[in-house]
């Protein structure tokens, strides 16, 4: 018996150490959560004021509320910055060693990007969804609260769409990583992509609220599939055929960007080899 306890001891120690670390991490995550609530709150107050000034709007206020809160909840799913591991490899010159792996480089990096976008972002979404979805209702702030999906079909398609978000976002992130290798630094990529993503995904302002003449272009561009598509489906703004078309666009862009990524990766790796790493 004591032998079992003895063998378990190191694992127990590691678990305890991890747990304590997690507690510290919680404090930082909490600060982040408060900030997100604040941001969402201000955005909604501003939108509410705008909505008051006109009679017809392309989306209902309730849909806008859902859009904003979901946008805050799933913020970390978006391709904000280059994978820090890869940035480090590029800076230290280790990236050439990626070629030593008996793996398809693009597939490997793509898989990493997907992994980054599953566990943690979904976990971080929970407190936000709970707060906006439950607490707000409880405290009588229902006009500002997150409401449930616009029906069973909406919920199902929403779920599908979110899966595609992960795939699409990871494809874009992988492209960013490859661009970093090509540029030999992550600075430029990080600086440029952030603003583009925040505007064209709908994170800054819900896409339906942009001027009418921009709508066709906004609808077709790839970043719309990162945030706009799933949340419009959720709120019933895209229903039926519209929803399916949007899902189709998400899927199409994912495939295109993955293929582009593979092409790009091959060119960049070849160049690395030519330059001696």
């Amino acid at each position: 018996m004591s032998a079992i306890v003895a063998t378990l001891r190191p694992y127990q120690a590691v678990f305890k150490a991890r747990f304590t670390l997690l507690l510290q991490y919680r404090a930082a995550a909490f600060a982040g959560f408060v900030t997100q609530c604040w941001w969402g709150g201000i955005k909604l107050m501003v939108l509410a004021a705008f909505f008051r000034s006109v009679r017809t709007t392309p989306m209902t206020f309730q849909q806008a509320v859902d859009y904003v809160w979901l946008g805050q909840a799933f913020l970390t799913l978006l391709p904000w910055s280059v994978d820090p591991e890869i940035a480090r490899m590029v800076r230290s010159g280790d990236v050439a060693y990626e070629r030593l792996r008996p793996l398809d480089a693009h597939a490997f990096w793509y898989a990493r990007a997907i992994a980054r976008r599953t566990a943690t972002p979904l976990l971080r979404a929970i407190p936000m969804v709970l707060t906006a979805g439950l607490l707000f209702h409880v405290f009588g702030m229902s006009e500002w609260a997150l409401s449930p999906p616009a029906g069973v079909q909406a919920a199902a398609l929403f779920f599908l769409s979110m899966v595609l978000v992960i795939l699409l976002s990871s494809a874009i992130a992988t492209l960013m990583d490859i661009a970093t290798v090509a540029a030999l630094s992550e600075r430029g990529v990080n600086a440029l992509v952030g603003p583009l993503v925040i505007v064209f995904s709908g994170s800054l302002v819900p896409l339906p609220l942009f001027p009418d003449w921009l709508q066709p272009a906004l609808r077709l561009q790839p970043l719309a599939g990162l945030l706009d598509t799933p949340f419009r489906i959720y709120g019933g703004h895209f229903a039926g055929l519209d929803a399916l078309a949007a899902l189709g666009r998400q899927a199409m862009w994912t495939i295109v960007l993955v293929l582009l990524g593979r092409l790009f990766m091959r060119r960049v790796m070849a160049r690395l080899q030519a330059q001696g790493g």
């Binding site: 600060a31 107050m45 000034s53 006109v54 392309p58 600086a191 952030g194 603003p195 001027p211």
Partner: protein, 267 residues
């Protein structure tokens, strides 16, 4: 006076230090410009559709946005010392170094680094300001410009004060409290729009606790002639930025308090 000269030296030193890496400086500045201008893009997009918010038009909000953006850009560029205070000075004990010099610690922290890359935000703020001026139908007298410039000065003082307070917290808890960012960046976000769109309690908070209203909303409203909605008598409006200085004064007093605590507990 000598303090000002010393500060000038600090700035020159910091500038030359950053100019040793010109590519990085340019890239970061452009990045800052791109990131901050998204806020203005949001304003533009929403106004393109909605035309007005609580009676304010695009050019008027552009002006409001420009003024607060410029104030924050300047304050942000000046106060890096306070920004990194907890990490670089309290945690490491390097604050002792500052105490051993015959100068105020606040002045030395102010001189720690002059963040030139903040020019990115400054540029887009000035762009928005320019758009607002160009499109507006305001009579641009010397008083109008004077009011806005005073607003910027008060704004720099206010934001600097917030950052000084944030740094003072580091004396008590060495972990940097990022929640303070909600006051600076959040304050800039909230202050971009006329405060009458917000709930009463929020408006009061932004007037009496952290006087953001005094350094953007009130002076700009007075220049635009939108006096009634503010709930403040007309002649008072242009001088409200003075409260930014009051806030800074309070912040520095609290700072001194924090320094005393540091020397008595040895951190």
């Amino acid at each position: 006076m000598n303090g000002l000269r010393l500060y000038g030296r600090y700035v020159s030193v910091s500038w030359r230090s950053q100019m040793q890496y010109p590519a990085s400086f340019i890239a970061t500045s452009i990045g800052a410009f791109a990131t901050t201008i998204t806020d203005f893009i949001a304003i533009w997009a929403l106004f393109a559709r909605f035309r007005q918010i609580e009676g304010w038009r695009f050019d008027e909000v552009a002006l409001l946005y420009g003024v607060i953006s410029v104030s924050f850009a300047l304050a942000d560029g000046l106060t890096r010392g306070f920004d990194v205070f907890g990490e670089r000075f309290v945690k490491t004990g390097d604050f002792d170094r500052l105490l051993v010099r015959p100068r105020s610690t606040a002045l030395q922290l102010l001189g720690y680094e002059f963040r030139a890359t903040r020019i990115g935000r400054l540029a887009q703020g000035m762009l928005a300001w320019g758009v607002g001026v160009h499109l507006s139908s305001v009579d641009w007298t010397w008083t109008a410009w004077g009011t806005l410039l005073f607003a910027v000065l008060g704004g720099v003082a206010l934001f600097s004060g917030i950052l000084v307070l944030q740094a003072t917290l580091a004396f008590w808890t060495v972990e940097s409290l990022e929640i303070a960012n909600t006051l600076t960046y959040g304050g800039v976000e909230a202050g971009q729009y006329p405060l009458d769109i917000y709930a009463r309690w929020f408006r009061n908070f932004l007037t009496f606790v952290v006087p953001l209203a005094c350094i953007s909303y009130f002076p700009v409203a007075s220049v635009l002639g939108r006096v009634e909605r503010t709930g403040v008598t007309g002649w008072l409006l242009p001088i409200t930025p003075a409260f930014g200085f009051v806030f800074l004064g309070v912040a520095l007093w609290v700072w001194g308090f924090g320094v005393r605590r540091y020397t008595s507990t040895g951190s």
